[in-house]
């Protein structure tokens, strides 16, 4: 296990470094002068020169890169060129919206996908089972923006249960209000991700039903349902855990669109506005934090998977 942990951490570190090179490299491919782009075409030469110095663009590329990474490792992500505020504190503030949103969405996705996926597989070949499967497929094809608009029409315009836009200014001071404003956005992401997860749970359950240990349990007198619940589902659960890492990326993408749609002040809408205003240093650091986050979740999921899956324990290979 220690060896596995060390190796996985090594892969994580290399992956993150490579990701930083990809981000830095791409944002430096910019045709023309970064300072000119940020300053705009009407900026005076003095302003451009000041920007160049402020951004360190007069330094060689390698030095710019090491300065950036060195700062990041010390916890200094730099400052926005548009507002001048430190990037780290703003990221932390926006994460207070995005992380609860992502967690809530994940809970909804699992709560929808797991029971329905198992049911659709268990009732394979029957009308009900096929209807549920077809619904899952259609749901996976619905664009997030459309789902969000439809959910707004039902949950806000017609029923009036939840606000359709915004997040309370005072944040989590009033948890009930904050949660209510996250309800429709989380439902939008959760149902979309749930549809993807559903197809996965269904196929994992189908293979579990055909697996030898489940069939053995049935041959020993266990009913099909009982055999599935006691022998099959643990394996299904484990295979779901193993893909949760990839889901982190999907949740983040969902958050970008849905935060914009529901006017939530989270990381997603921040990134959209930073890209629009060409706040490149901020986009660069934000992307590094987000990809790092996705890589870390992938690594944590791998470790957890190895801890709880007896087939992967040391010596079992």
């Amino acid at each position: 296990m220690t060896r596995f942990l060390l190796a996985r951490t090594g892969v994580l570190a290399v992956g993150w470094l490579l990701a930083s090179l990809v981000i830095f490299g791409t944002l430096r491919l910019l045709p023309g002068d970064v300072a000119q782009v940020i300053g705009g075409t009407k900026a005076s030469p003095e302003r451009i020169a000041a920007l160049r110095q402020q951004l360190g663009l007069d330094q060689p590329l390698l030095l710019q890169y090491t300065d950036w990474i060195g700062g990041v490792l010390r916890g200094d992500l730099g400052a926005s060129v548009v507002t001048g505020t430190p990037i780290l504190s703003e990221l932390a503030e926006k994460a207070e919206v995005t992380i609860p949103l992502a967690l809530l969405s994940l809970v909804i996705a699992l709560a929808v996908a797991f029971p329905m996926g198992v049911f659709a597989a268990y009732r394979r070949g029957t009308g009900v089972g096929q209807t549920v499967s077809a619904l899952g497929l259609v749901a996976a094809a619905i664009p997030a923006v459309w789902a969000g608009l439809l959910i707004t029409i039902v949950g806000s315009t017609w029923l009036g249960w939840f606000p359709s836009q915004g997040f309370p200014r005072e944040g989590w001071a009033d948890p009930g209000r904050a949660l209510r404003s996250l309800a429709l956005p989380a439902l939008t992401i959760g149902l979309g991700e749930g549809a993807v997860l559903f197809r996965f749970v269904r196929s994992a359950t189908l293979s579990a039903l055909d697996a030898e240990h489940v069939r053995t349990a049935m041959s020993q007198g266990s009913t099909r349902l009982r055999a599935l619940l006691t022998q099959g589902l643990p394996g299904v659960g484990l295979s779901i855990v193993s893909i949760l890492g990839l889901q982190a990326a999907a949740l983040l993408v969902g958050a970008v669109v849905v935060e914009q749609l529901f006017g939530l002040p989270g990381l997603g809408s921040m990134l959209v506005s930073d890209v629009s205003t060409r706040d490149l240093p901020k986009v660069q650091s934000t992307l590094l934090v987000l990809t790092g986050f996705i890589l870390v979740i992938g690594a944590v999921v791998d470790v957890v998977h190895r801890l709880i899956d007896p087939r992967l324990r040391d010596g079992a290979e």
Binding site: V11, V14, G15, L18, A19, V22, I23, T26, L27, L29, L30, P31, L137, V138, A140, A141, I142, P143, A144, V145, W146, L149, L150, T152, I153, T157, S164, V196, R199, F200, S203, A204, L206, S207, D210, S239, I243, L246, A249, A250, L252, V253, V256, V257, Q260, L261, L271, V272, D274, V275, S276, R278, L280, V283, L287, L290, T291, I294, L295, G298
Partner: protein, 298 residues
């Protein structure tokens, strides 16, 4: 001898008949065919000019003159849907081509290349997977500005990496099969083995992945156009149409119906086409259960 191994074009077409025979496959073929047709027709003719606005014709209901009504600027919804279908076709096909090239390259290098090459591709894929499609597209939009070409390139890269991830494992698995060993023992060269034995065996998985990627590309274009990084205002796109309805959603809820429905039907068709192709092509996994990896393209 050669003719014995190769399918003639006719038998190849006949092999596709089971795709259309299933309900899902027939549905997919009908929707995608209609979309392609409407895209082609829209190049020469649409009932109205899709971009001509008129203050007198806003929010008209369905009528003989405007079968699907008009939008908040008085533009004909059917004409805009038709014009938007060509954008959808360009996005799906363009992303498909780029993703196919990248996916095959990564798959061959990562599954069959020299040891060092395989490891490098593995790490590269793991890193690139951490850049979700939409984030990658936004990163490129920050540098090069937004537009359909940027959408194609970024989605092509993102889905190409996903396809490469799956193909790498498939190639590695097929390469260790006995018939490949036999072919090598019989003195067949590397290129010949790749072309005659490896690629045909990986083809079902590849085709399914590609179909799935094209569907997800249409979904991603809708998101990107909504965020303002996709189709520019003068280009008709279903994603853009959908995002334009948001402002009026509480007054004219019905306006969100058509563009959303069009996107959903096309994406659903690509998903169904993937399933139908898998069932028709895949001789190794005939159980109808989706392969776990295929479900995870994002």
């Amino acid at each position: 001898m050669k003719t014995l191994h190769r399918d003639s074009p006719r038998t190849r077409l006949r092999g596709l008949r089971p795709v259309v025979a299933s309900f899902g496959g027939a549905f997919a073929a009908a929707v995608l065919g209609l979309t392609l047709l409407s895209a082609l027709v829209s190049l020469f003719w649409t009932p109205w000019d899709p971009n001509s606005a008129s203050a007198e014709r806003t929010w008209l209901g369905m009528s003989a003159a405007h079968p699907l009504g008009t939008d908040g600027s008085g533009r004909d919804v059917l004409s805009r849907l038709m014009a938007g279908s060509s954008t959808t076709i360009v996005v799906a096909l363009g992303t498909g081509v780029i993703a196919a090239v990248i996916g095959l390259l990564l798959g061959v290098l990562g599954g069959l290349g020299p040891r060092r090459g395989r490891q490098a591709v593995t790490v590269l894929i793991d890193v690139l997977v951490a850049f979700p499609t939409v984030l990658l597209a936004m990163m490129l939009a920050a540098v090069f500005g937004s537009g359909i070409p940027i959408v194609l390139v970024s989605l092509g890269i993102a889905f190409g990496v996903s396809i490469g991830r799956v193909l790498r494992a498939e190639f590695a698995q097929v390469a260790s099969a006995d018939f490949v060993l036999a072919a090598r023992a019989a003195g067949l060269g590397r290129g010949a083995i790749l072309w005659r034995h490896l690629i045909p065996n990986v083809r079902p998985v590849f085709v399914v992945q590609l179909s799935l990627s094209m569907g997800l590309a249409v979904l991603a274009e809708a998101s990107l156009s909504y965020l303002g990084f996709g189709a520019p205002p003068e280009v008709a796109s279903w994603g853009r149409m959908l995002s334009e309805t948001q402002r009026y959603v509480s007054i004219h809820p019905a306006s969100v119906l058509w563009p959303g429905l069009a996107i959903t039907l096309v994406v659903l068709s690509f998903l169904l086409l993937g399933d139908a192709l898998r069932d028709a092509l895949d001789r190794r996994r005939g159980d109808g259960a989706p392969h776990p990896e295929r479900e995870l393209l994002q």
